[in-house]
Symmetry: C2
Subunit: 292 residues, 2 copies
């Protein structure tokens, strides 16, 4: 079973890599800008978000081919946010997934523009889906709301503002819900929209994704403390070094572990009405237990 | 007649200001981020692009109320591009319309995020239009293509790359067509889309807007040379000071003046099939002759 889901995830990931590789091939663009966009977009990574788009589309009875442009859009939003977050004025990170960050390679100006271009291209991808216009408009609405100032960008702004002081658990939860949770929710919701899912289904996959996202972030904070530099491709305890508030520092590792388990159970429970939520259950458990 | 069109423009502008003022009022957002977004969005300016959206909607037989969200979207794209262009890593400008630039007031991190949030919000606005879903999808497609790496952002990347050397007239024209022309075209096309205009109408307003955009840019370059600091709210000859190639430096003021006149005529000619293109004709002439 484990192998079956791993195979499916690898197959989804291959579809997504192919989609992203071809996304900017058709039209001539200014070469250096396109290089910078693809340097970060095609840098690997787990592709959890776009996989969640495809698999949630399947969960809600849709065809994953129709959802590919939505999956590509989510990964472009995620990638642009990493490029901008790494900038000297923001987190000032030189390494990402073991490689020099975008601005280190291409310079700050091009990195800012590559992020802007990927963010804009995400919305272009949505229009490429071979789906009824109503569903595409709903996707644009969903993604723009969850990725913008009331979602992901708002979370990043809160994160910047909170860097120099200790955040309460409530503040941390809000920050996480916006900064990483919103785009994970968007991923599941876009999958449901692509499938033409019902209002109830959308609420259920949203609950699942929100729990998954929170568990993912808490696990991430735990790993930042316990992993070695080689495993993560970034300095151990880089959050600590910056005096960043994290769930690990606010609650301790043991409480974090309990929370991750509770959230995972809660997320899985939300999918009980679906006939075959096997992949989503496996995914939630795998992420909760991951060691990198 | 002159007064009639000025009145209409002022009325359009008032509608747009109202729309933009209310755009972020409904949902609570992180206050400092919203402040930064509105600092630049509500900083006045000519609002040429959103006015062009509304008036082109009217030209193609549509109701300008339906086009207001499209107009708001275009102005948000324009505003985000100014915020990012002014950043230290880009043009490094401290003043814009006589006021300190966004990053001077809010810091670089918040300025980058305010730009990202406005760019994202632009696509959210498009979904707010009370129009058939097909027209909204077409608007998303149009705006994302013309504002992204094959349009406005691509032009800004070319501009950055060309800063330290002298550009040929052809290079300058390509740069302008992307950097400023694309969004002006998008404005006219979005107006036509909002009105449910025909394919032919869309091609005609695009031709008009491209000519208008090029004339606008050439006139801008001329004014950069001949205006005084007080009039423009930025240092005289700031392009020259940065060794930037401009139409004025490449062609000289006299040739520029001839070109502006030719382009204006060409743009007006493209609208000959419309029953009442009076406003567009007046606008093209006014912009060509403007002294600030």
């Amino acid at each position: 079973m484990e192998n079956h889901f791993t195979d499916r995830m690898n197959q989804d990931r291959a579809e997504i890599e192919h989609y992203l590789t071809c996304a900017f091939a058709a039209e001539p663009r200014y070469a250096r800008l396109q290089d910078a966009m693809e340097y970060s977009l095609l840098a690997g990574g787990k592709r959890i978000r776009p996989i969640l788009v495809l698999e949630t589309c399947r969960l809600c009875g849709g065809d994953i081919q129709a959802a590919l442009p939505f999956a590509g859009a989510v990964e472009m939003i995620h990638t642009y946010s990493l490029i901008h977050d790494d900038l000297p004025a923001m987190d000032n990170d030189d390494l990402r997934r073991g490689r020099p960050t975008n601005h280190v390679v291409y310079g700050e100006a091009t990195a800012i523009l590559a992020g802007d271009a990927l963010l804009t291209a995400a919305f272009e991808q949505l229009t490429k889906a071979e789906l009824p216009a109503e569903q595409i408009v709903e996707a644009v609405r969903c993604l723009s709301q969850l990725a913008g100032s009331a979602g992901m960008v708002g979370g990043q702004a809160l994160d910047m503002a909170g860097e120099s002081r200790t955040l309460s658990r409530e503040e941390l939860e809000l920050l996480q819900r916006l900064k990483t949770g919103a785009l994970i929710s968007a991923s599941a919701e876009l999958g449901c929209i692509a499938a033409g899912g019902s209002f109830e289904q959308r609420a259920q996959v949203r609950t699942y994704a929100q729990a998954l996202g929170q568990a993912f972030q808490i696990r991430d904070d735990m790993l930042d403390v316990i992993s070695s530099r080689e495993e993560l491709g970034k300095p151990v305890g880089s959050d600590q070094a910056k005096d960043k508030s994290t769930f690990a520092s606010a609650l301790g590792l043991e409480t974090c572990a309990v929370l991750v388990e509770q959230l995972t159970r809660h997320g899985i429970e939300a999918l009980k009405d679906f006939e075959d939520a096997g992949f989503h259950i496996w995914l939630a458990k795998s992420l909760a237990q991951r060691i990198r």
